[in-house]
């Protein structure tokens, strides 16, 4: 091999090694930055999840239902059972029975 060609090869190899080293360092810094970003995002996600759990807690839901919707827990006399002898059961035409004749082909 001619000395000039050899010198070029050596020079190119040195340049490649240096470039590779710089790239590795740059990527390492980037990797660390990403790792930190992931950790911070995970942490942020945890806090948001906690906030969601806070909002879903029975106490929080009960307070919201009471304040914003005016809801109350049912009491014993809140339940109305329509039994067989209910006066309003089967006494009078329903909307469907009224419409039935006009719906027939």
């Amino acid at each position: 091999m001619k000395p000039v060609r050899l010198a070029v090869w050596i020079g190119a190899s040195i340049f490649f090694c240096a470039w590779q080293r710089i790239q590795a360092t740059r990527l390492s810094f980037e990797l660390e930055q990403r790792r930190r970003a992931v950790l911070e995002a995970k942490s942020r996600n945890s806090y948001l999840r906690l906030e969601l759990q806070n909002l879903h807690s029975p106490e929080s839901l009960a307070a919201s239902a009471r304040q914003h919707l005016g809801m109350l827990p049912p009491t014993a006399d809140s339940l109305i059972v329509l039994g067989e002898n209910h006066p309003r059961k089967n006494t009078g035409p329903t909307l469907l029975s009224w419409l039935a004749p006009s719906l027939r082909p």
Binding site: T25, S28, F29, L31, E32, Q33, R35, L39, S43, R44, S46, Y47, L50, Q53, N54, H56, S57, P58, E59, A62, P73, P74, A76, D77, L79, I80, V81, L82, G83, H86, P87, R88
Partner: protein, 556 residues
Amino acid sequence: MLKTRLHLCAALSLFCTVPLGARLTQLQVLQHRALSAIAESRVERQTVELIPRGRILDRNGEVLAESLPSWSAFLDPSALKHPEREAPRLAAALGLDRRTVALKAKRASRFVWLKQKLTPEEVARLRALKMEGVGLLADERRYNPNGELALNLLGGVGADGRGLAGLELSFDSKLRGKAQTIDLVRDGLGKTMTDSMPRRSDPPADLVLSLDRSVQHYAEAALKTAVERYRPAWASILVQDPRSGDILAMASHPRDPLRNPAIEQAFEPGSTFKAVSMAAVLEEGVAAFDEKIDCSGPWEVVPRVFIRDHEPSGPLSLEEIMSRSSNIGIAKLALRLGADRFHRAVRAFGFGTKTALGLPGESGGLLQSPASKGRLALANNAFGQGLAVTPLQLLGAYSALANGGSLLEPRLVLSSEGGRRPAEETTGVPVRRVASEDTVRRIVRMLEAVVERGTGISAQIPGYSVAGKTGTSQKLDPERRRYSTVHYVASFAGFIPAKQPRLTIVVVIDSPKGQYYGAEVAAPVFATLGRQLLALKGIPPERPLAVRWSSAPKRL
């Protein structure tokens, strides 16, 4: 001539190179170690990352306690260039008092805590300042997303991340977070990169409890109402699934992470204990089911000591003794049984020994040995005076009656290895059989009679069969060494539906103000909570409810 010039050039070159070579040798060879150490100390850094403490979940996977990464800020006052200008900025970023920060900035020390347990927003604001002398240390913070729900049971965690009380203490070694050190390399601009990737470390296991967050919420709401009304010294409500022994709720007053009256507080159970005494009587066959016992009083149990019933009665059947809560009747039956057999039966129901829960501070209650038990002590024990039990033990005894006579280990932790157990599993771990099925059937019938037409009428739940017993016990006055006539413990223990029990509930209210009878104070709490839990669990009514015809507007 040419040769001379060449020699001159060579000499000049050597003259420059030799000192350079010597200096290089000095730096690279002679001072290599010292200089390398200095360089490394300026370039290499170590950081600590925390794997947070394990979570505590309820039986449905809802989070009861969770640790999140947090940070604590510190200050090196000597590194501040203009403390008078930088202190107000720091105070604003951290939401601290300006004067406090200014004083800290003037301290001679090189390390001062600025604020611990920072929020992510505070951390972001602090980082944005990019201030010399201010640092952040990784930390963790324990949160309870449901506020103070189950606080007495969960316990607390100290500033160092270690469990201080309750479940946090019992399972500290499994829950505790870990710290891992990571080597970093820093460049001249302060940017860092990992020198070696951190080893993956397994996070601590989650603790899955048998508790049901919704049941706990209802129990605490019922307890809060009772506490506001009766202002007791302490109170507890426990809910258990009698088929599996799973504790579904454990609510206590006062709310204190360091105290859990439900397991620590032993009290004289009063008449709620009569179910246990009667079970022993029936199991040993010392009285026939249809036998009548003379309960007219006052009855002189030993010379000059009388036992009275709260309302005078004549001959009563065993069922009437229970429904009218006759002290005389149950005392006479216990005396027939004798101290040995009574003591054995009581211990079989789990009284006098700690449960297998393994929570710190649990009391085993207080039982007198049969040898030291005289006639009076045995008579008193029969109606729940002169012995002490914990609310948890009473719960276990009533669950044994509810499930057909098998005492089960109370279960609070479904998994401490992070795995989830199916919430619908209904098999329990039996400790022993406490009574035959026939005896238990009769006791359940008696307890139903208590609620249908006896002292426990206020525990009725429309549409459902309820089995239970009221209790009103006098408290011992330590100063007078006699039973107090002012302080009582009101209680109610029972299970619903009585035919196919799904829930055992114990309500204990110590020293209520105003009213004090178990029937007036504890039984209504049982009924309110029972109705809510039956609806929550979707357990349909056993019989038609009393119908209230709708008074809805006629025009729709």
